[in-house]
Point group: D2
Chain length 434, copies 4
Amino acid sequence: MSTAAVSGADSGTGFDEMDVEQDYARIRQQTESLCEPLAIEDFCIQTTPEVSPTKWHLAHVSWFFEAMLLEPYLKGYQSYHPRYAYLFNSYYDTIGSMHPRPRRGHLSRPTVEEIYQYRAWVDQHMAELLADSSHAERDAILMRATIGLHHEQQHQELLLTDIKHVLAANPLKPSYSNLPQPEGKAGCAEWIEFEGGLKEIGASGDSFAYDNELPRHSVYLAPYRLASRLVTNGEYLEFMDAGGYEQPEHWLADGWKTINQEKWMAPLYWQHEDGQWQYMTLAGPRPVDEYGPVCHLSYYEADAFARWAGKRLPTEWEWEAAAGDQFILGNLRETGYLHPAPADDPAVSHSGRLVQMYGDVWEWTQSPYTPYPGFRPLSGALGEYNGKFMCNQMVLRGGSCVTAEDHLRATYRNFFYPHERWQFMGMRLAEDME
Amino acid sequence: MSTAAVSGADSGTGFDEMDVEQDYARIRQQTESLCEPLAIEDFCIQTTPEVSPTKWHLAHVSWFFEAMLLEPYLKGYQSYHPRYAYLFNSYYDTIGSMHPRPRRGHLSRPTVEEIYQYRAWVDQHMAELLADSSHAERDAILMRATIGLHHEQQHQELLLTDIKHVLAANPLKPSYSNLPQPEGKAGCAEWIEFEGGLKEIGASGDSFAYDNELPRHSVYLAPYRLASRLVTNGEYLEFMDAGGYEQPEHWLADGWKTINQEKWMAPLYWQHEDGQWQYMTLAGPRPVDEYGPVCHLSYYEADAFARWAGKRLPTEWEWEAAAGDQFILGNLRETGYLHPAPADDPAVSHSGRLVQMYGDVWEWTQSPYTPYPGFRPLSGALGEYNGKFMCNQMVLRGGSCVTAEDHLRATYRNFFYPHERWQFMGMRLAEDME
Amino acid sequence: MSTAAVSGADSGTGFDEMDVEQDYARIRQQTESLCEPLAIEDFCIQTTPEVSPTKWHLAHVSWFFEAMLLEPYLKGYQSYHPRYAYLFNSYYDTIGSMHPRPRRGHLSRPTVEEIYQYRAWVDQHMAELLADSSHAERDAILMRATIGLHHEQQHQELLLTDIKHVLAANPLKPSYSNLPQPEGKAGCAEWIEFEGGLKEIGASGDSFAYDNELPRHSVYLAPYRLASRLVTNGEYLEFMDAGGYEQPEHWLADGWKTINQEKWMAPLYWQHEDGQWQYMTLAGPRPVDEYGPVCHLSYYEADAFARWAGKRLPTEWEWEAAAGDQFILGNLRETGYLHPAPADDPAVSHSGRLVQMYGDVWEWTQSPYTPYPGFRPLSGALGEYNGKFMCNQMVLRGGSCVTAEDHLRATYRNFFYPHERWQFMGMRLAEDME
Amino acid sequence: MSTAAVSGADSGTGFDEMDVEQDYARIRQQTESLCEPLAIEDFCIQTTPEVSPTKWHLAHVSWFFEAMLLEPYLKGYQSYHPRYAYLFNSYYDTIGSMHPRPRRGHLSRPTVEEIYQYRAWVDQHMAELLADSSHAERDAILMRATIGLHHEQQHQELLLTDIKHVLAANPLKPSYSNLPQPEGKAGCAEWIEFEGGLKEIGASGDSFAYDNELPRHSVYLAPYRLASRLVTNGEYLEFMDAGGYEQPEHWLADGWKTINQEKWMAPLYWQHEDGQWQYMTLAGPRPVDEYGPVCHLSYYEADAFARWAGKRLPTEWEWEAAAGDQFILGNLRETGYLHPAPADDPAVSHSGRLVQMYGDVWEWTQSPYTPYPGFRPLSGALGEYNGKFMCNQMVLRGGSCVTAEDHLRATYRNFFYPHERWQFMGMRLAEDME
């Protein structure tokens, strides 16, 4: 996952002096809380080049504060360790060279304990910097600290996404924690209509946003419909049972190539055992819940399902225009950080509302991740945060059950390669209105 | 290269009965004329998985007529050879399995002579089919024959593109044919302004177009400027000399990764020898012409150059909206099929016109190749022509010096992966108007 | 295939002045005769990195005469073409850099006709050199010419081996030429006993031998038995039918890994169609002949078969010691250059003789290819002929139906990697005598 | 590393009832002692497919006792965990499927603590089994327990070899433990002469030996000389300084290919920094000791050095015949388990003795690893211990500074692929006597 630098700096909004200090303590603590169920050994493992070890996440977000705030702004600051910039820089080429990503799991040292000490050091100096209300660069500091906290929240999600991959790769199938079984059934999906026309897309500048959400600009949309809820596991099983994975006519050329090379026959984490489908969850293996939103799909699979169903995926602008009209939180957020949420109650009609827009799964859109007209990346290394990824990736909208709540907003643009599926990714259908 | 199925069929326009018969003979003959300079050995070689042997092109386009026209419509037709469908199907999964693309160069048989016999057989039966003016499916036949001819013209371009790759891979550096040296100098690039607003994009239905150019629809554009001419080799050399290939700040993340993995330091076919840059042309190696349009660039290189220059690439809509206003042929088409054209005369101002829009090099745009709103692929196998490639590729506009003239139109959407550069690809700069 | 430099030079034996001139003309002509059945297109194809195009073989053996004889010894000689040394050097690193082996099939030029012209040029100058009976380096010239002719004969075999691979890779399954169907049945294999003790191994110096057959030296052998004939296709089918390819206990670790990665279930060129096993031959596809010697096996498969049968492969010394006792030509050489020979007549007992020692298939031995004690490679580039391959390869003994007759001798050491199977390779069983 | 199953079972020698119980406790304890300097995180890492995590070694050797002894012989025994056989089987295909070797580092669980509990469980049940002196299969039990202990000792060496790789891959360059700096200088190498003739090679059956050391048999050797000591780092630096890595004439073809692909310019763990060569040791980075034996070389490098020096590597039989004459322990064993030993004192002549035969570095021989004449692998799964690796690997003799002392014997055959160099591997020169 990647994101992009804040707009708030220019507008004087998007953060508040008091809040940043409090938020800093709160968010940094949340990160560590997420690690409480883990054994030391769990912190070290990298199962694919995309997955980072837990302890790497813990150190990287701390290095981010060092590199973006302490070194430029805290007078007399000495970096904690001369090699940590090399070890914990993720992809900021303009800052310097870095340890190769596929080898993050080759590092037994620093130990977990040493990384917690590093975090404490950074926290102590950040507290000092944030307390200096008369600093000549106060505005820049607050802006960058805000970005750093949003960055840390992104890594909270990645940390859970990655630890799920690590635990799932283990034949012993350990669980991250206990979670209640999802309950309830999905109601019938309804088609919600949206008029087209010129729509304003992108962040307004009233609150925090990454640079890739800017500038706000006009997009012309034809009239369209969105499904009121997410596609369920049960619906996806129909596609599988109908031979969807063997029929080239549903698939993009690159998708067909991918599923054949990778021998994919189901979403990630699904296994057919003893005559039934199971999937790995953060609470260990469970039978597939037919009413839960389908999750851990590649873009190729989402697109093929939509085509098979005679529908399509929405564009990111269709999604945002619809979400802007009605900010509706995922109705089952209580399952919290840990498992795709069960869907809504069957007895209740959606009554023309969109549900499950936030907090269940990220929704693939058919929009490639490109710059908005007039896009300007932040200057310096922060300009690498988002802009350089604007090629070959697809936008996802909404937010998942492991996304920090502060991260849920209508203009947020998440992005991944179309073959990736280890994130909590699913889909909602769309269609043209004729 | 790939394209997509015609719209003309629905509108009754885009072809004319008399023309199709005449065009068929003319275009089929043109293909064979392009092969005249070649030795038998040249027809057989495949230097990378993307490149096809000349003889494969010759057979594939003939199979296309067999599969799309003779077999469904010519009564009593027997296919010429039971294995040719397997050998010469390119990517139509719904028709059947096919010989793997990377092994097209493993086939010594059928021989070149046998493939010419195959072409003659197909031509004879196509003549019979096209002569039957009372055929019950006359409209579909004319529509499909028209597609088949456009398809053959695409492969005329590919044939030259691929034979250039084959000859360039040979240390003996043989030439395809003699070509005059380019003359003239590039004038100063001017910035041509375009008002924004709602623009109609896509084919109008008055003449032939592929399905991916449809439907015509509205797009909202902010005001913008385009450079009056293409970027020249001389300008690109400045980027190279300034260290552009070593500075990560100009590059997309995937581009930076690509140039480092592939060790690219210059466009394809460029070699530094005896203190000067040379490139391979269809007329053999020549010194780089500083006034000629830079060619054989990946999207990544075009994008990095633009960023280094403080500009950007145009979107495909900006390009089309501008081209629609003023249909201006590449002013140096006389160099014909064989070499990137030299640029315009330096003494002459462009006078607010765009030049080199067609017939020099395909122009990378910043637009990923996606379906237009309401896009409907043709039914059946022809639906695979364009639609299934709408992921991971970028749109190029205009047309190159090896593009058939009938193929040059403002709405034409060519598309390739961002790392590909063996086509005749270059760029024109754009910028926002503020 | 690779071989090694002659010993005859030192001993004054192994060649004869008159013979060399006559042999030169005869052997060079034989090479060209082997190409008569081919179309121009057949000369150009490389189906795997190990396979070379026919025209490359034709040019390489000519370059060998240029590099080893004409350039050092023919006064005033100018090389035919300045780039041919680069194109047609195979692996002589000390001579200079070379075109990468996997790209030999990327060269459409020089054309076949140009290569025949090159051959004629070399022949004309070789005739001049060989006719100069008073040349100061006469001995070295005759020695090197002799090596060059043996080298050319090795490539005669490779040329046929490689063209078989090229034709077999083509779904049209073209044949190289007509060949009679094999007749006769294999008699029962008998066990021939050999006393152990100290044996003299290696070439005696009385006639031509490569450097890797030298020096003659003592080896101590325990008593052993060899099967009187080669393993047949019918016997190998029993192994396949018994599940041999699915049972790890028969296989070397590297063999088990190889057959699983490559998904091998039968020898190369075997295909199961319509309920029966067929294989590709130089005369096109034929039903598997149960009495013919099994061919196109890797070392791993030969070893696994032997283990499954409760036997083992012979060492190269056991083979040579046995062959030295009784020089017996393959009894069915009349099938000539083109197809593994059918086995001997069933009615005739082998009567304690070894049969099929030469001229059917090369026989895998259990001996890794290593230097004989006291081995000295030839000096200069010819020292690269054999010595540098003495690692990771296994010795094969005997000779195949496509081996030139002059190449059949008891001390000849052929060698290939254990996973290779495109040569005409089979096996004979051995066992300990207890 | 791999080895082979004991012969002692047949002869009734090679173990002693009392010893096995005592040895069991001692050797199991030694393994755990070796882990004392490690942090929990160090136990989990796999840096290449060949390297196993420390905790995997700890568990695998315990599983070996479970699979080979407790399950077949301890009445009523239930395996400790139903998935451990899958996780900790290394390569015993006949026992069942196994976790893929390259993913041993993907397992955070079982934790280190859980593995120690597993070890304790196995120890407790082994004690029970070994205490049952009246067991009907007493002989087999003692034989297999002996193998299991030798097996554990092999993994003691591997554990140290692998943890060195893990620590060296870390940019922080942590050390395993403190070690004294080597002292002393290497004396001049002398050439020790050995008469040839028929020699008895292989284990005598008087004490424990693996099956690959059997049967004892005759080999005929020509007269030869061995260098009195190992090749030093200083001597190897001369080869490097003379351009040895750039000159193809010294290299085997596969070696030349390997060093160019891998870009090797020095032994593993060597780095040129600040104008001098350093290498990683178990005590962290140190300057290269010119008198220490060169270590962490591939076979290709050892062979190229020998060729450059005008010498060769010994055969494994030459080594064994020489060692058998004079069992001389490495004279500097006091450096213990942890670092290649410094060489002998310069002031002292070797006086016609071979030194450094054991306990410094394993010595590459020029002998491929093949079965001795009449070799019979043990029956059942133990037959996979050694025999199936007898292809593509080279024999090393002697023993290294991290080899358990009980493992040092003249007939011991260690074996690795010629490109491998992460073991403590070096060389001694040989030459023919003429």
